[in-house]
């Protein structure tokens, strides 16, 4: 599964551009604000339906234009397939395979993608909401059933909250049963994913830090004590909290309140870590996510790394270079070619300037 070509029209600062990619490591060089990040963002919009976190989805379409178009040619099992996204100003994004409109999740499961953005440190240090979004977004893309279970859980939660607000105690039980069934499934999926991610994050962060630091990932829940029968645990917890929750008018326990905890060398990362450590933690998390996607879909995802080398020291850069070499296809950006470690074999090199590819070369 290889991305061969990306076509952009009226996307951010790009008027019109065609970019070719090869298997292995593709390196995108360019100074700041020339369109490196937007190139990765185009792929993220096309394959994940979302751009750089917090970077204003409204300005995705080039200033003064009504519509942007993104197209990717990918090759799978000897066959070329064209994926397309149409962005209309002020409206949503339409996704297509060849000419047929498709659900976003289908595109992801056909051609998976994992992106690391410099702002991903926010996943580790931001509000719990941010970490739940990370987890739910990842699992919903991997399985439509997860998304359906999550929606069903949220619906039951809203109904139970309405009962709590209006003080209808006699109706709580039936909504708790719905919440327990679907929330239990959501939690079970999260526990299973966490089991995988925890090992991977520990392994990758350990290697990134030359074995000097440890990063442990944990699922934090105020209602479950482990992955055994989450439905039964949730049913019990909801019943137990009824009286208190009737006072608050909302449900205080359940998967919608759960969080991920990151322990750096045994301490909560949010209070201890430097910016560099947080960024490395986020990088480890994204690479672990890529490994999870590969294991679940039986296919290595395309990996995009935006400015990943910037804050790493020399040994970490070299370790990352070795890790990326083992992936099927990677696109990474760097403002400065001198940051790219000498042991990284680059299969294609692009220079970007003012929304145009000004130079391309193999290796």
């Amino acid at each position: 599964m290889v991305l061969e070509r990306l076509f952009l029209k009226n996307f951010r600062l790009y008027r019109q551009a065609t970019v070719a990619f090869t298997p292995g490591v593709n390196l995108v060089l360019g100074e700041n604000a020339q369109g490196k990040t937007s190139l990765l963002e185009a792929l993220a919009v096309l394959l994940l339906g979302e751009g750089v976190p917090g970077a204003g989805a409204r300005e995705l379409v080039h200033w003064g234009e009504e519509e942007a178009r993104l197209e990717a040619e990918v090759r799978a099992a000897g066959r070329r397939t064209r994926l397309r996204a149409l962005l209309k100003r002020g409206q949503g994004i339409g996704h297509y395979v060849e000419e047929a409109p498709v659900r976003l999740g289908e595109i992801f499961r056909f051609f998976p993608l994992v992106v690391f953005w410099p702002a991903d440190g926010e996943i580790l240090r931001g509000e719990p909401q941010r970490r739940r979004q990370f987890l739910d977004g990842m699992l919903a893309r991997l399985s439509r059933r997860y998304l359906a279970d999550l929606r069903r859980y949220r619906r039951a939660l809203a109904q139970r909250n309405a009962c709590l607000r209006s003080g209808r105690r006699e109706l709580l039980e039936v909504w708790e049963e719905e919440m327990a069934t679907y929330g239990g499934r959501v939690a079970a999926e999260r526990y299973a994913a966490l089991h995988f991610l925890t090992h991977k994050v520990e392994e990758i962060y350990g290697a990134l830090s030359d074995g000097r630091e440890t990063l442990i990932l944990r699922y934090l829940s105020n209602w479950s004590e482990g992955k055994e029968d989450p439905t039964a645990q949730l049913r019990l917890a909801l019943r137990r909290h009824r009286t208190r929750e009737l006072r608050f008018g909302q449900t205080l326990v359940g998967p919608h309140r759960d969080d991920l905890g990151f322990l750096l060398n045994g301490h909560d990362l949010r209070s201890q870590a430097s910016r560099g450590q947080q960024k490395n933690g986020a990088l480890a998390l994204r690479l672990a996510q890529a490994a999870l996607v590969a294991a679940r879909l039986d296919q290595k995802p395309l990996i995009l790394l935006d400015d990943a080398f910037a804050e790493l020291d020399c040994r970490r850069r070299e370790w990352l270079a070795r890790y990326l070499q083992e992936q099927d296809q990677v696109v990474l950006t760097a403002a400065d070619g001198r940051l790219v470690p000498g042991n990284l074999t680059v299969s294609r090199r692009l220079s970007i300037q003012g929304g145009k590819v000004v130079e391309e070369s193999a290796g």
Binding site: R144, R155, Q159, V174, E178
Partner: protein, 200 residues
């Protein structure tokens, strides 16, 4: 809407309030009613008035009927030991079309939804319970929708009915008959697979 004569504007507005009718369709229907034979248009108006006047919920099953009790409740050939509970009259019609079911019905006219302020007293639940009291009914089939509100309603009713010593059942979920596997949506297929049965 200054470009429509006032009675026409009122008609368009009234049609626009119907489910599934947008402003353009409302306009098309209104102009059609103005141009079709007079009897046809008046016939439609009379049909609406008569249906509204004559149709009311059956005092037993709450299905919409012009007689009381309704045709199904009066039919001596129907099995009086089974009641199938549905959310809407249209669900009853769907089950009748199968021609498989020969028992009685009960129409709730909705499902539990605290978000929309719908509680048990807004559904025909008391009426249902009073039908169960004389001991004729042995089984109750909870055929509410398989969405969150329908499941919760089914569960609520199950809790009420079980202490009465009734058999409480729910229709199985599965693949549409006559459909090809490849066209079934993933969720239906997933549910059908997890509820698979032994071959006999």
């Amino acid at each position: 809407m200054w470009y429509y004569a006032e009675p026409l504007a009122r008609l368009i507005e009234a049609l626009h309030k119907l489910p599934g009718i947008g402003p353009k369709t409302a306009q098309r229907l209104a102009f059609f009613l103005m141009s079709c034979p007079r009897e046809e248009a008046l016939g439609l108006a009379t049909a609406i008035v008569q249906a509204r006047e004559k149709i009311h919920p059956c005092t037993l099953c709450a299905n919409l009927t012009d007689a009381d009790p309704c045709q199904i409740c009066r039919d001596p050939r129907r099995d009086r030991t089974v009641i199938c509970v549905v959310e809407q009259p249209r669900d009853l019609v769907a089950i009748e079309r199968t021609g498989v079911y020969r028992g009685l019905y009960h129409v709730l006219h909705g499902a539990l939804s605290p978000l929309d302020g719908v509680g048990p007293q807004d559904l025909k639940i008391d009426q249902l319970l009073s039908r169960l009291r004389d001991g004729t009914v042995k089984e109750i089939i909870l055929a509410t929708n398989p969405n969150a509100e329908g499941e919760a309603t089914a569960l609520y009713l199950a809790r009420l009915c079980r202490p009465l010593g009734l058999r409480v059942t729910r229709p199985a979920h599965g693949l549409p008959v006559g459909g090809d596997l490849e066209y079934a949506d993933e969720m239906t297929l997933g549910r059908a697979l997890s509820g698979r049965q032994e071959m006999v």
